[in-house]
């Protein structure tokens, strides 16, 4: 049965494709492959193997990422950042007794700003996880404003704490994500709906195909499946998420997209939870900066081995959050996060926080670079 051999081998190659792609095109691809094979052939040609393997890889990439990977990376940065800043503010509440002294000069304003942080960052995190970029962006912008005000009131406008830089990065990432149509999370919500129906897979996949499901990255994403995914993930978490950030994450990870968002969200959430705990453990060493980045050597030294262990574990979790992102998103996330991570590293090395002027210049440079990238991706006009 030479024909049987060939068909079996083709089937094995087609098994490399993602499930949705197989369900949609498997039979006709097999038919086309067999139609193209000359009589008596038993093995696929090498160029067919290469072509199919490459196409399968591309299909996996599209299935996981959608097509706009910078947008996906911006969404990932914004989401992880919002989780971190939520953890940061929750942690600071735990540190209230210690931080209070430095806040004393601002009296009522300080309290109001901290309450604002307590509202806006969790809201941004929940919005991001629930796949609502616009909500997340507005909340993050308000959070950034409050964060900046706190920093200026506490230490003057000359230098910006790392928390403000992280807030800038988070708000910027979420804004880019929202402005570019937020394909990753929404696409994730859509495919999450498809895949999340492991029990109800069949009909969901069919529905996706009917409504433009294949367009994970395209405009069709804003249509039915995404809306469905969003309806499933948002809403109830707003209340519970504002309290702890925990339940919303869990639910978001469960329904929002197991493939892309499951592990990174869990890892970032766990790192954040550890950061929050360090604020609430009695007599814990503290810093007002990012809770789950290894900040300020004094933090580690004052804490002794337990502090070093906590920093190591939360750093590893944070690294895991980035490393479990799909490849093309991962390195873009690293590129986007690099400035803040670098500044944190410099601060750890004993250097001062960056002057506001330097930050402003860097932002200007990033803006110009962003324009350049945007222009490159903009369609050539063809009247």
């Amino acid at each position: 049965m030479t024909a049987g051999d060939l068909e079996r081998r083709y089937r094995r190659l087609l098994a490399l494709f993602p499930r949705r792609h197989r369900a949609e095109y498997g039979p006709e691809m097999l038919a086309a492959l067999l139609a193209g094979a000359e009589q008596g052939r038993r093995r696929p040609r090498m160029r067919e193997v290469v072509d199919l393997a490459g196409a399968a890889l591309a299909a996996h990439a599209v299935a996981r990422l959608g097509r706009s990977q910078w947008s996906a990376a911006a969404g990932a940065v914004g989401t992880i950042g919002a989780i971190g800043l939520t953890a940061s503010v929750l942690r600071n509440v735990g540190l209230w007794h210690a931080v209070f002294d430095s806040f004393a000069p601002m009296a009522g304003w300080g309290l109001a700003l901290v309450v604002a942080l307590l509202v806006f960052w969790p809201l941004a995190a929940v919005g991001a996880v629930a796949g609502r970029p616009a909500l997340a962006t507005v909340a993050a912008a308000l959070g950034l404003t409050a964060q900046t005000a706190v920093a200026v009131l506490a230490s003057g406008p000359g230098r910006l704490p790392i928390g403000v830089l992280a807030a800038l990065l988070t708000a910027g990432g979420l804004a880019v994500w929202a402005a570019t149509g937020g394909p990753a999370l929404r696409g994730r919500a859509a495919t999450g709906g498809l895949g999340g129906g492991a029990e109800a897979g069949g009909p969901a996949v069919g529905g996706g195909a009917a409504t433009g499901g294949p367009a994970v990255g395209g405009g069709a994403v804003t249509g039915g499946p995404a809306a469905g995914g969003r309806a499933a993930t948002c809403g109830p978490e707003l209340g519970s998420g504002a309290e702890t950030g925990g339940p919303a994450l869990r639910r978001g990870a469960a329904t929002g997209g197991p493939a892309l968002w499951g592990w990174p969200l869990w890892a970032a959430g766990a790192a954040g939870a550890i950061g929050v705990l360090t604020g609430w453990v009695p007599r814990a060493p503290f810093t007002a900066d990012l809770p789950w980045l290894p900040v300020e050597p004094a933090w580690v030294y004052a804490a002794g081995p337990p502090g070093i262990a906590v920093v190591a574990v939360s750093s590893a979790l944070l690294a895991a959050a980035v490393l479990t992102l799909p490849g093309p998103t991962r390195w873009r996330v690293l590129v986007l996060a690099l400035p803040v991570v670098a500044v944190t590293g410099l601060a750890n090395a004993g250097l001062h926080q960056p002057p506001t002027l330097v930050v402003a210049l860097c932002l200007l440079a990033a803006f110009v670079a962003g324009l350049g990238v945007g222009r490159r991706h903009r369609p050539a006009s063809n009247s």
Binding site: Y25, E28, M29, A31, A55, G219, P379
Partner: protein, 117 residues
């Protein structure tokens, strides 16, 4: 959406092929081979990557399905958007080609590119 982004060559040739009427996947491959004088042989994987994308962008749609020899054959056709897009892209390529030809002629180097064989 990037409605106006240049089409990749396989996509352009697939649309060209479907401009003649609905075709199933393998017929598209054969047709493309023919219209490119054997220069472009689209692999099945590449073909369906492009088809998936073109469908997602609304440029082609499923015309009908048939079962022939117990094998599924799905016929695709150009959508109205696809027709417009193919026309616009062809216009663009024609303009570029015309400009290139005009300049080559003007500088008297046309023969270098590949004169009459």
């Amino acid at each position: 959406m990037r409605d106006d982004a240049p089409l990749r060559e396989p996509s352009y040739l697939i649309l060209t092929s479907l401009a003649a009427g609905p075709r199933h996947g393998y017929a598209v491959i054969e047709d493309v081979r023919e219209i490119s004088a054997g220069r472009v042989v689209i692999g099945v994987g590449t073909l369906y990557t492009a088809i998936d994308r073109l469908r997602a962008d609304g440029l082609i749609e499923v015309d009908r399905e048939e079962v022939v020899d117990s094998r599924l054959r799905r016929y695709y056709r150009l959508s109205d958007d696809g027709t417009r897009r193919l026309a616009a892209e062809t216009e663009r390529l024609t303009r570029h080609a015309a400009a290139a030809r005009a300049r080559l002629n003007a500088s008297g180097r046309a023969a270098l590119g590949g004169g009459p064989a």
